[in-house]
């Protein structure tokens, strides 16, 4: 799960990691009031959306007077913000973070991720702050320092020294001490809140010698939200596609894509592979939809309804390999959906596995208009013909 920058900075404050003075606004006038309450000018007006690359899309503005604050806030709030990560239609901005502008002397990068291969958290530190860390890593790998953290011991002092004693010139002792404290606090936050990623880019030293987290990004482990109730409440439903939000209420795993073939599959791996065969047959999947290994009749019905709510869908492919899930349950769910909403696009069904005969006969004995595919390849070809 992702959260907004202002929420991440509040967590930083809770953990004693210094952040700029700031306030949240949802209108230009609130933005001006906010600026009045902060040290400055200058101020920074920052769009609060989950997608990265906000600066490139004009979502981060440095301003010097109240009129400029109002103008910048008005512009950012009035149309969707397009960044390299939002897609062409952009993301509507509902909240702004107004912050004091700081005089920056030096920028660092500091982050923690999970290294899947080494099965441990890894802290990443770089003196090339303010840039995309992936780019720095590709072009100047020597500037990206990584320390793998043994979860039994936590971040050890020698690891922070490994980061520091390659810096030229070596910062003052007091700065190093403060940096080391921030690293320890950031690791404490990562562990105690079940994060999957934390990132401060940039972590700055101001001209007055203060160290401040200028930006803040935190992702959380979805699997741990059951024990992180306060974090789960930070979820912003406006950041989700409307259909995706509805699907998650039904406990369906749905991701909207750009094509026109609606797909319903049981199991995540098979769902991905089904999207792939649709594409190989020359069509484009409209969605990823995993109804789960053990879906109920009701979930299948809801799944069909969600797919049909996407007006771009021109044909539907149902691919079920019954294991724990029984084909008769699937068939009943589809028949029920057809009674509740009109299925007005061609439907191709491929059923295999547990109770397949019963599932097929339920479909055949209904009023449903559908075609049967013998295997995945045939199913994909049939659905591609329908939309070409």
């Amino acid at each position: 799960m992702k959260i907004h920058e202002f929420q991440a900075k509040e967590l930083f404050r809770d953990f004693g990691i210094p952040v700029p003075c700031g306030t949240v606004a949802t209108s230009p006038s609130q933005a001006v009031d906010g600026a009045k309450s902060l040290p400055g000018p200058p101020w920074v007006v920052k769009a609060q959306i989950h997608a990265g690359g906000r600066g490139k899309g004009g979502g981060v503005r440095l301003v010097n007077g109240f009129e400029e604050v109002e103008k910048a806030a008005g512009e950012i709030l009035s149309h969707p913000l397009v960044t390299p990560q939002t897609g062409a239609s952009g993301q509507k901005v509902r909240q702004l973070l107004i912050e004091e502008g700081l005089d920056i002397d030096k920028e660092f990068y500091l982050g923690i991720v999970i290294d899947r291969k080494l099965e441990c958290p890894a802290m990443i530190f770089s003196e090339a702050g303010g840039m995309e860390i992936e780019e720095v890593s590709a072009q100047h790998p020597e500037l990206v320092l990584i320390e793998n953290i043994d979860i039994a011991h936590g971040l050890m002092p020698y690891q922070t020294r490994n980061f520091f004693y390659v810096l030229e010139p070596l910062p003052d002792r007091s700065v190093l001490q403060e940096l080391s404290t921030i690293m320890t606090k950031l690791y404490a936050l990562f562990i105690s809140k079940d994060c999957s990623l934390v990132e401060i880019n940039p972590l700055v030293i101001t001209r007055s010698g203060k160290i401040v987290a200028l930006d803040a990004k935190i992702n959380f482990d979805d699997n741990a939200l059951f024990r992180q109730k306060e974090i789960a409440e930070l979820h912003d439903p406006y950041e989700m596609d409307e259909l995706e939000a509805r699907a998650s209420e039904y406990n369906l795993n749905y991701i909207r894509l750009d094509g026109n073939v609606g797909a319903m599959v049981n199991g995540a791996g098979l769902a991905m592979a089904t999207m792939d065969v649709i594409k190989l047959a020359g069509a484009e999947p409209a969605n990823f939809l995993d109804v789960g290994g053990g879906a109920s009749e009701e979930m299948v019905t809801n799944g069909i309804k969600i797919i049909l709510s996407d007006e771009r869908v021109k044909a539907i492919l149902i691919n079920i390999f019954g294991g724990i899930m029984r084909c008769d349950v699937l068939a009943r769910g589809v028949v029920k959906a057809a009674k509740e909403v009109e299925i007005n696009v061609p439907l191709i069904v491929r059923l295999e596995g547990t109770n397949v005969e019963e599932g097929r006969s339920i479909l055949q004995n209904s009023d449903l208009d559908f075609s049967v595919a013998q295997d995945m390849e045939e199913a994909a070809k049939m659905v591609a013909e329908q939309v070409s």
Binding site: I114, R116, N223, A268, F321, M376
Partner: protein, 291 residues
Amino acid sequence: MGILVDENTRVVVQGITGKEGTFHTKQMKAYGTNIVAGVTPGKGGGAVEGIPVLNRVKDAVDNYGANATCIFVPPPFASDAMLEAADAGIEVIVCITEGIPTLDMIKAVRFIRKCGAVLIGPNTPGIISPGKTKVGIMPAHVHKQGGIGVISRSGTLTYEVVDQLTRIGLGQSSCIGLGGDPIVGASFVDHLERFKEDSETAGVVIIGEIGGTAEEEAAEYIDREFNKPVVAFIAGQTAPPGRRMGHAGAIISGGKGRAEDKIKALKSHGITVVLNLGQLGKTAEQVFKKD
């Protein structure tokens, strides 16, 4: 033969009194799995399907000779269940549970390895050595005893692949689900090493997906040391970056973990990669039936 589990495996089911645990205990028993005991703390003394329910895994090992476990315990308690099994001396731990926090797993895998146990999963369909035993939740009827090893990161996708193999007459020695989570107990390479030593296994199918670098590591290992033919498939060629595709481990981040990179790595090491899942059976027939 086959790997890790066979007709001599003595299974304890942890979480046997839960809905899933009871259902799959019945299914495993019907397949012929030797389930010697079940464990649900606090419910010891009862029975499920004629199988004694105990309070502690230790008792299942000491009194019933259990050497493998199948875990159906909910996510908040699953790492405790895995650690209990490892500490009690269980050799093969299969954890079906989906939704365990990553940090719990980081701690658990260290301990389990220290105890010398093998962990399959979590978030896995388990392991089956067809004709001998099944420790997991896969539909047994699609499997057939034979000489092909299957290692996969997925569930239903594996059933699809196994079904295609069975239909063309290629039976399986053992089929293993690694688990769909970012941190799992064993990698492709760990099991490939076992299949290499298994005289019943003539070839291996590996089924990967987007996220992580496990397939790339497998490709290097196969090229360097593996002496049997391999067919590979990678799911998620059309997956958009940054989105979690159902499995917590299936996410492309920072330009890493893409299907095309994995396919390229496998091909560059001389491994046959099937791009269209519908053709996996046919390709496997060509590769494995050559000799």
